[in-house]
Amino acid sequence: MDFSALLTSLRNDKNIPNGRKNILINDMSYVMMEPGTWELDERGEAMRWSPEKSVRLSEAVTWVALVCAIVSIPLLPFLPRILYLPGTLLFDSRYLTEAFVPLYLCLACGVVALVILLFLLRDIGRGEVFTQSNVTRLRVISWCGFAILVVCVAAAILVSARPTFILLAAAAGFLGLLMRVIKNVIDAARLLKEDADYTI
């Protein structure tokens, strides 16, 4: 009996409770049949979480973030009414009007970074991970983070809503730094891959 047939028979066996459907592989180990994780697909094979599905999830989340960013462009002037909570330091209506310019600049950088991220994920989905174009994309995303950092630091000095912009600057600076390190790692991996590809 092959593995998928064994899974089917176990799944359909009503005498065994779901939590006890374990598959003995050998004397030492067994596979737990957790509900939902070992469902069978139309070919009868066990479906598992795969890198392809992970990339698709990342793409979906990026699309959602991009749509949110684009939707927030016309909504930004109404943000104080939407998000205003008494006593909060963030998005105080007194400060938001003068903060429009830096907020729109940050939003533009964010949209650019998200669009580049979509291209990056598209290439990762195709299996083209360690390429020069991906290194360039990560570099641009990193610079978007640093651009937001500069805008927010300038806004923290010039605009009254200081805590909001300091928080944004810290988050953007950390993102930029993280992306830069990932870019360095991908670049090193690209060189290694190039060496491996040209070793005959």
Partner: protein, 72 residues
């Protein structure tokens, strides 16, 4: 790199077609082309051994060091 691959010369003297050599050595014709055109960054001993066996030559016949040449 100052190392030059003279595989095409050795192949020509042995009258060995590229496709046949690739099949005998166990590499793809594309990889053989990379090797012939001096694009390769490294060569495995196993590949070199198979090339020497099939072409009945020494590693020195295939590889040559030339001072002052930089292919990179």
């Amino acid at each position: 790199m100052a190392i030059t691959v003279n595989l095409d010369v050795v192949m020509a003297t042995r009258h060995m077609p590229a496709g046949e050599l690739a099949a005998r050595v166990g590499i793809t014709p594309a990889n053989l082309s990379v090797l012939k055109n001096n694009k390769a960054k490294a060569i495995r001993f196993s590949t070199l051994e198979a090339l020497c066996r099939e072409l009945d030559c020494q590693p020195g016949d295939i590889l040559e060091y030339e001072e002052g040449i930089d292919n990179e």
